[in-house]
Each structure stands twice: as structure tokens, then as C-alpha cells.
């Protein structure tokens, strides 16, 4: 009970902080960092449904992100529709792809799912780079200046910030509901032991598939949000491996399979990334990924539960020390 109370207090504080952030920090740079943070949190939370809760470690989630990112600009370039109209297409494509991948791989061991996701994402990335319809290696461009409000091209960061925040809230609410439903229990059981779960009547394959489809849908929305804001997509920024890496590391650092883990991970990594990019300029992105690789290895070696496992052990110790002093 105490723990739920603490969690609720933290959640309320976080919500208030996120709502007020762009009001307090009016500088466009800080607002942009805020938007980047929200996008990272959305993507990682979406990954978290299948990678964290269900324990099916996808390392190719960029395939869903990329579909969501290409769809809006594709409907704009082909038919002149407002980009936002492409979002449902992105979701539909992502869910279809999830089913195509999940059907064979979910019969196999977890390692195999990871290999397959990596290979499929890479396959799509290369393919997108050769396909003229989606701009091949150059990619697609959105409306440079909005024709009307529904093109969602805002000069200020503020509208993006609150749209992204709304999606994040929806995603976290969905996850929180899942946590306390049969579906959430089944996901955790499958992660712990698929064999035992099935013996208790859990239709594991179907449950994993649903988790992947849901995760894919939200990841695709994250891709759409990204492209609505930047107005530009190419194979690497849509389907590239680093897009997947970002999702995995943000969730794993904060705590995979926990509601707020991805948020905590993004809270640490996005400022870190911004700092290395600002300080080291062009070589900064390379440095960021060296740092990412190192962090991932350290998490795996010492704290597979991420910070969510570390806090409860660290805090009482600090508490005791403070009282002893």
C-alpha cells in the first residue's frame, strides 16, 4: 500500500512537471529538448509493452517507427492529403507487419525473435533506400509551410509539446490499465516462464502477438509524431538501427517492464545526448552511441532490472546513512 502511495505521488509530481515545463522554460532550445524527451519516452514506452512486460526483446522496433513516419509523408506526397491523415495507415501497416513477424518467431526462443526483428528492420531499411515511390535514399519531405492548421506545421514548439504529451499520457494510461488486467498478468507470466504460463491456460502465442501488435501501433504513432514535427524522413532516420537502439536503451535504463521506467530512462538519456551533441558537435553523435553501448553493457552485466531495481535498494541505504549522521 505504502509503495502504491509513493508511486502515485511520484506520478503526480511527474505529471505536474511535464505540464508546466514549457511554461517555465520558454527558450525554444529547452522546449525542443522537451519535445525530444517526450518522443523518446513515447517510443520507449511503446517498446516496453512487448520488450519489457512480455519479455520479447525486439531490437528492430525501428521497422514500426519507420512505417509510422513514412505513412504521413507518403499520403501528402501522393495525394496532397494532410500528413496527419496518414497516421491510421501507419498504424495498420505496423500491425500487419507485427502479425507477419510474430506468427513464425513466437514459436521459437527469445533469441530468435531478436535476430528476426533486427534482420527485418534492416531489410526494410535497405528496401526503402531503393524504392522510388518513397523517395529512395533521399526520403520524403512534408509541406514546407502549412496550407492550413490541419497540416500541423507550427512555428512554435509549444503545440508539438502538448500533442506529444497527450499521446504519452494516453500510452501510459493504456499501459497502466493493462498492468491491472488479466492481459498484464499474462504478459508477466510469459516473461517469467512461458512454459508454466501455458500450463495454467495462458494462450501465450496469442497474448504475445497482441502485445506486439499494440506495441507496434504505438511505435508507429511515435514515428508519425516525429515526422509531423520534422517534416522530413529518410531510410536511416526512420528504419535505422539507432532508432531501435534508442528505444531499447531508454526503457532498459529506467527499468524494462515497469510503467515509469521509460520515462526515467528518457529523463536521463535525452539531456545526456543533448549535452554530448552540443559539446562535441558533429562527432558528438558517434560519442553518444559509444556511451549508449557502454551503458547497455553495464545494465546487462550489473543491473538487468534497470534503475527501477536499483532505487529501492539504494534509497533505504541513503535513508539510513542520513539518519545515522
Amino acid at each position: 500500500m505504502r509503495q502504491t502511495f509513493g508511486l502515485r505521488a511520484i506520478a503526480l509530481l511527474l505529471a505536474a512537471g511535464l505540464l508546466l515545463y514549457p511554461v517555465v522554460f520558454t527558450d525554444p532550445f529547452y522546449r525542443d529538448v522537451g519535445v525530444t524527451f517526450l518522443l523518446a519516452a513515447i517510443s520507449a514506452s511503446a517498446w516496453n509493452i512487448v520488450g519489457g512486460y512480455a519479455g520479447q526483446v525486439s531490437v528492430g522496433h525501428s521497422m514500426f517507427f519507420g512505417l509510422g513516419a513514412y505513412a504521413p509523408l507518403l499520403v501528402y506526397n501522393l495525394w496532397g492529403w494532410p500528413p496527419i491523415a496518414g497516421v491510421p495507415f501507419g498504424i495498420a501497416l505496423a500491425i500487419s507487419l507485427a502479425l507477419v513477424i510474430g506468427m513464425p518467431t513466437f514459436r521459437l526462443t527469445g533469441h530468435y525473435f531478436s535476430m528476426a526483428t533486427l534482420a527485418v528492420a534492416e531489410l526494410i531499411r535497405i528496401f526503402a533506400g531503393t524504392w522510388g515511390l518513397v523517395g529512395a535514399a533521399i526520403g520524403l519531405q512534408g509541406p514546407a509551410t502549412g496550407r492550413a492548421w490541419w497540416d500541423l506545421t507550427f512555428r512554435s514548439e509549444l503545440p508539438y509539446y502538448y500533442i506529444f504529451l497527450g499521446v504519452l499520457a494516453l500510452l501510459l494510461a493504456t499501459t497502466a490499465i493493462i498492468e491491472n488486467r488479466r492481459f498484464g498478468f499474462y504478459l508477466r507470466a510469459i516473461k517469467a516462464s512461458e512454459r508454466a504460463a501455458r500450463n495454467l491456460g495462458v494462450p501465450a502465442r496469442r497474448i504475445k502477438m497482441m502485445a506486439l501488435a499494440l506495441s507496434a501501433a504505438f511505435t508507429s504513432v511515435a514515428g508519425s509524431l516525429y515526422v509531423v514535427k520534422t517534416g522530413f524522413i529518410d531510410p536511416d532516420s526512420g528504419f535505422g538501427i539507432l532508432v531501435s537502439v534508442q528505444m531499447v536503451i531508454v526503457a532498459a535504463l529506467g527499468g524494462a517492464g515497469t510503467l515509469l521506467g521509460p520515462l526515467v530512462g528518457a529523463l536521463i538519456l535525452v539531456p545526456l545526448q543533448t549535452a554530448t551533441n552540443t559539446w562535441f558537435g558533429g562527432s558528438g553523435s558517434g560519442l553518444t552511441y559509444i556511451l549508449y553501448g557502454g551503458i547497455i553493457v553495464l545494465i546487462a552485466r550489473f543491473e538487468p532490472g534497470g534503475l527501477s531495481e536499483l532505487w529501492p535498494r539504494l534509497l533505504p541505504r541513503l535513508w539510513k546513512r542520513a539518519h545515522a549522521a
Binding site: P104, S114, L118, A119, L123, I126, G286, I295, V297
Partner: protein, 285 residues
């Protein structure tokens, strides 16, 4: 005649694929573990060759052995410092450990060696020879032949020697192996050494004939996945056949469809395999 040249070239490259993929399949067979950094090991082998040639000089034999030794040491070191600890942990830790390692190695290589393509200075293997009416670079021929021999040697090591049967004993039943006086930890460290060593020497061999950049690691990891999936997880001999087939498919599709499509065809093959014989993919031979 061009067709024959393409086919021979594909098979020679395929032999190198077979060599480094057999390292991946060895680890899978021993401990049901996929090394996502395996392609980066190949990439490191290439740079070790470059460094040895630039700093110390010496011919292909020297830098190939140096690359094998360096990567063997790296494999053993990684096993004892990292893999040993995550192998009993959750799946997430297992996958993240080598996935993070791949990033670390890849982007460190970018930082140290830059993103530019490099190739070795001309070695004793420079030039081309004419065999049965087709022209082949000597380096390709020697590298491919050496890779073929080494893969077969690895297969013999695993199936015909005492060390090999100890490795297999650990793979079959850890507890039983321990009762026989085998130390599973040592055997698994050895397996990681052999696996990384095979990748390293494959990289050095490839460096004699092809230019490369730090980003090749990811491609090689994926190629190793396809080869292992096709050849059967845990089978070195299977990797040999599958490596040759994948090399051949790549060469043929690059020639007839265009270079950009060669990876699409190979990864596509992986997806098709996934659908057609997923049960065969898990089997150990």
C-alpha cells in the same frame, strides 16, 4: 564466362562467410546464446590486420595469425568478464550484453578509424591470375581457400579431437561434463575464444581482398544469422554449406539485379526461412 567468374567469386566470399558464421554457430550450440557483436569481431579482425601491416609489416600469414590471436584473447576476456555473468540472467540481459557491445565496438571504430573505406596496402597476394579461362584476384583465391580449410579444420577440431568432445560434452549436459572432470567454464571460455578467433581470422583474410569501413560489422552479423539459420543452429558443417550458398546468392543477385539488391535478397531469404522451417532452425545437428 562472366557467369562463371561471378559464381567463383561468390563461392570464395562464401567460404569466408562460412568461417565467421561457424564461430556464431559454435556459441549457439554450446550455450544457446546469440552474439550480436559477432560481425564486429570480423570488423576488428580487419583493423588488426591493417594495424599490423602498417606498424610491423609482414605478410598475410603474419597479420592473419595476429588477428586470430587478438580476437581469441578478446573472446576469452569477454566471456570471463561479461558473458559468464549474464548467461544465467534474464533474456533481456543476454541480448543487451552483446547488442551493447556491438554498438560500443562499432562506434569506437568510427571514432578511431573514421567512417572512410580503407583497404590493405598491396600484399604479396596482389595481382590476378587466369584459371581455366577466368581472371581471379590472387588475394580472393587465397583468402577463400584458406577460409575453406580453416572451417573444415574447425569442424575436425570439434568432431575428432579430445578438446572437441569436451566442448560437445559441455554443450550436451553441463552437470554430466562436470562429473567427468571437465570444467564447463573453461570450455565455454575456449569456445568464445575459438568463435571470436574464427571471426578475426576471417576478417583478416577478407581484408586482403576487399575494402571495408567500420559499418561492415552489422552486415556481417546479419549474414552470419542467415548462414546459421540456413545451415542449422550449432552445426559447423551446416555453416560451411550455407556460407557457400549465401555467398553465391549474393554474387548472383548483385550481378543480375544490381549491387544494392544483394543484401535485400539475402535478408529476404532469412525471412522466408523463418516462415518455411522455423522448427528446423532450432534443431542442433
Amino acid at each position: 564466362m562472366v557467369g562463371v567468374q561471378v559464381i567463383v567469386g561468390g563461392l570464395l566470399l562464401g567460404a569466408i562467410y562460412a568461417l565467421f558464421s561457424s564461430g556464431l554457430t559454435l556459441i549457439w550450440g554450446m550455450m544457446n546464446f546469440i552474439n550480436f557483436a559477432h560481425g564486429e569481431f570480423v570488423m576488428l579482425g580487419m583493423y588488426v590486420a591493417l594495424l599490423v601491416v602498417t606498424w610491423l609489416g609482414g605478410g598475410p600469414a603474419v597479420f592473419a595469425v595476429a588477428a586470430a590471436a587478438a580476437l581469441f584473447a578478446l573472446g576469452v576476456g569477454l566471456y570471463s568478464s561479461l558473458i559468464r555473468h549474464v548467461i544465467r540472467g534474464p533474456l533481456l540481459a543476454q541480448i543487451l550484453s552483446t547488442f551493447g557491445l556491438a554498438l560500443l565496438l562499432r562506434y569506437t571504430a568510427f571514432l578511431v578509424f573514421s567512417a572512410n573505406f580503407v583497404s590493405l596496402p598491396p600484399t604479396a597476394l596482389a595481382g590476378t591470375i587466369k584459371v581455366a579461362g577466368i581472371f581471379l584476384p590472387v588475394a580472393q583465391l587465397v583468402a577463400g581457400a584458406a577460409a575453406l580449410i580453416l572451417t573444415i579444420a574447425l569442424h575436425i577440431l570439434l568432431t575428432r579431437t579430445t578438446v572437441g568432445s569436451k566442448l560437445l560434452a559441455v554443450a550436451e549436459d553441463r552437470a554430466a561434463a562436470m562429473l567427468m572432470g571437465i570444467r564447463p567454464d573453461h570450455m565455454q571460455a575456449l569456445a568464445w575464444g575459438l568463435s571470436a578467433g574464427a571471426a578475426g581470422i576471417a576478417g583478416a583474410l577478407m581484408a586482403t581482398a576487399y575494402p571495408w569501413s567500420p559499418s561492415v560489422g552489422e552486415t556481417f552479423s546479419l549474414i552470419a544469422f542467415v548462414v546459421v539459420a540456413l545451415g542449422g543452429f550449432g552445426s559447423v558443417l551446416g555453416s560451411l554449406y550455407a556460407g557457400l550458398i549465401v555467398g553465391l546468392i549474393q554474387a548472383v543477385s548483385a550481378f543480375w539485379l544490381g549491387a544494392i539488391y544483394k543484401d535485400i535478397v539475402v535478408y529476404g531469404l532469412f525471412v522466408v526461412l523463418l516462415w518455411l522451417r522455423p522448427q528446423g532452425l532450432m534443431g542442433r545437428t
